[in-house]
């Protein structure tokens, strides 16, 4: 359990920092909460529509799925990196094959134009 002490401290600092900045903001800011304050972007520009009023392009979803896939890939990289020395050349070649297969996927996605926005 003692190994987790730094993490506990880290969490405490994070919580304290958040609480402190929220309290400080409350103490420092102007009391009035006008309409502008409640807008998503307090820049003075009127939003054209509400975020929930129209559907977004499917492309966003494509990007999200690709993100998750590469996210899972990095999970495999993590234990490999920890044991890089012991796994030696064998492990290195193995991981290169793994990455090469995913590079094939990357080339495919790129060439198919899935990353083009226009």
């Amino acid at each position: 359990m003692a190994n987790y002490l730094p993490i506990l401290v880290f969490i405490l600092v994070a919580v304290l920092f958040l609480a402190a900045s929220l309290i400080a903001a409350r103490l420092l800011r102007d009391a009035g909460m006008g309409r502008t304050n409640r807008e998503p972007y307090e820049c003075g520009n009127e939003p054209e529509t509400l975020a929930l009023d129209h559907r977004f392009s499917i492309r966003y979803y494509l990007i999200a799925v690709l993100f998750v896939i590469f996210d899972v890939e990095t999970v495999f990289l993590f234990p490999w990196a920890v044991m890089f020395d012991q796994l030696a050349l064998f492990g290195f070649i193995e991981m290169m094959i793994f990455i090469a297969i995913l590079v094939v996927g990357y080339i495919y996605v790129w060439k198919r134009g899935a990353l083009n926005w226009a």
Binding site: I101, V104, I107, Y108, K111, R112
Partner: protein
């Protein structure tokens, strides 16, 4: 720990995966590849893979597991790999039409088929529950995408979604079962699992963990072979998916799922033989009864074939539950015969169907014998074979299965099989009656189907009849491809 030379034994799978990737990249550059070259490349890679399978088996085929016990290349795996490659090849030859007419990109389609085939080949060689599971997922994921390949058709979207959600659920159930068995025994290696389960069962330890574990594992597998009452995904997926994909799911996918079902029940769970025999008998009977009764009420031929495929899962399970040599080779015989019959039947459906799922009802087959006698004759062969009437492979397949059941003392299961086969006569011959006795409203002769499609149907019909006339060689082959009995 791992001997790199052992990778040669899996050279066919690795080759097929590389071929699929090359096809994928080639299909993505510029306007992509056209249908015919892509199909030719896919077929050539399947042939090359089949040759590599034979080479690898000659080099080091044995019932010893290799690569740290992850895989095995025995004669059982050899038989099924060649069968799967044939079924995949025939799927490729019947796929051209929908790609060309719908304007769908062929590059991805054929590479997904090859990826699914790669997963299947790994599956039948898998000797650890984990290597089997990940290969199964490779096959399943490719199949979900293929089921939704008719992107502009709502039904195809529905098929992909239902298939994905229920498939993911069944994979989860399967994995849960594996994890509970791992919790009880501390291993996922098929051989070790059998040994430790044997010890635990004989001392009576961990009965609940083992019972729930193997039940979940078995339920996941029944899901994958589309046996009732775990079949709910089948009809909608089979109807909505592009017909070549349906044929692929009903033949290759089913064969691979049965292959791992048998491998796991026989080689990993021999200690629980009496339990799984009983459950499998129940599932087999429910599948035969439900599949055949529901098929009676269908108007759509694809949906009828979907229910018929549930019924046939029941017939094949009869051979599995015998847990005898006769039962096992009867299953292998039937899997091969059923692959040709079902690919041929769906091939005929492809020729008759038009855009937007039209041309799939019984009445669309009216007067077909007059319009195109060749097509009607081959459909007649397939329907006769599905019912199990001589002289077709379907007859001997069912005969061997029922005989094995009687010999192993499962007479009541065989009886259900015979009775449901009699029921099936009605809906299979409903099509025959339409084709030969009903007059057609549309008397124009059909345009000649594409060469690939027509020759595939011809091959399937010829093989179906040949198996009914000379079943001996295939029986000998199946008898040489057994795994240790539980």
């Amino acid at each position: 720990m791992i001997d790199p030379t052992e990778f040669w034994l899996l050279a066919p799978e690795i080759f097929l995966a590389v071929a699929a990737m090359l096809l994928l990249v080639a299909g993505s550059i510029g306007r992509g590849v056209r249908n015919r070259p892509a199909a030719a490349v896919a077929l050539l890679s399947l042939v090359a893979t089949a040759l590599l399978v034979l080479w690898a088996y000659g080099k080091g085929g044995s019932s010893e597991a290799f690569l740290a016990g992850m895989f095995v290349l025995d004669s059982y795996a050899l038989f099924l790999k060649l069968l799967l490659l044939i079924a995949t090849g025939l799927t490729v030859t019947i796929s051209g039409r929908f790609l060309e007419e719908g304007g769908y990109r062929p590059g991805e389609y054929y590479s997904l088929i090859l990826f699914a085939a790669t997963g299947m080949l790994f599956m039948v060689s898998g000797y650890s529950l984990l290597s089997i599971w990940i290969s199964l997922e490779l096959m399943a994921l490719s199949s979900y995408i293929l089921a939704g390949y008719f992107k502009r058709e709502r039904k195809s979207n529905e098929a992909a979604l239902k298939y994905f959600i229920l498939g993911a659920l069944s994979s989860g159930v399967l994995l849960y079962g594996i994890s509970l068995l791992y919790g009880a025994t501390g291993t996922v290696h098929v051989g070790e699992l059998a040994a430790r389960l044997g010890d635990l069962v004989s001392t009576g330890e961990q009965p609940i963990l083992i019972a729930v574990g193997w039940l979940l594992l078995a339920i996941g597998l029944y899901f994958k072979v589309a046996a009732a009452p775990f079949h709910v995904w089948t009809p909608d997926v089979y109807v909505g998916a592009p017909t070549p994909v349906t044929a692929f799911l009903a033949s290759a996918s089913k064969i691979a799922s049965f292959a791992i079902l048998i491998r796991i029940l026989f080689e990993a769970l021999p200690a629980l033989k009496a339990d799984w025999q009983l459950i499998t008998a129940l599932v087999a009977c429910i599948s035969m009864i439900w599949g055949n009764l529901a098929a009676l009420t269908q108007d759509n031929v694809k949906r009828m074939l979907a229910y018929s495929s549930i019924g046939h899962a029941g017939y094949i399970l009869i051979g599995v539950l015998c847990a005898s040599e006769e039962g096992l080779w009867a299953v292998l015989f039937y899997l091969l015969a059923y692959a040709f019959i079902t690919l041929g039947a769906f091939g005929t459906v492809i020729i008759l169907e038009q855009r937007e799922y039209a041309g799939e009802t019984y009445s669309d087959y009216a007067g077909l014998a007059r319009r195109s006698p060749f097509l009607a004759a081959s459909m007649l062969v397939f329907m006769v074979a599905l019912t199990g009437i001589p002289p077709t492979g379907g007859f001997f397949g069912k005969f061997y299965l029922f005989a094995a059941a009687v010999e192993a003392g499962w007479i009541w299961v065989a009886l259900v099989g015979v009775l449901t086969s009699a029921i099936s006569l009605f809906f299979y011959f409903g099509i025959v009656v339409q084709m030969y006795l009903k007059p057609s409203e549309d008397t124009t002769p059909r345009p000649m189907p594409a060469v690939g499609l027509a020759s595939t149907i011809a091959i399937c019909a010829i093989v179906t009849v040949l198996l009914g006339l000379v079943p001996g060689p295939l029986v000998e082959l199946a008898k040489a491809s057994l795994i240790p009995l539980p």
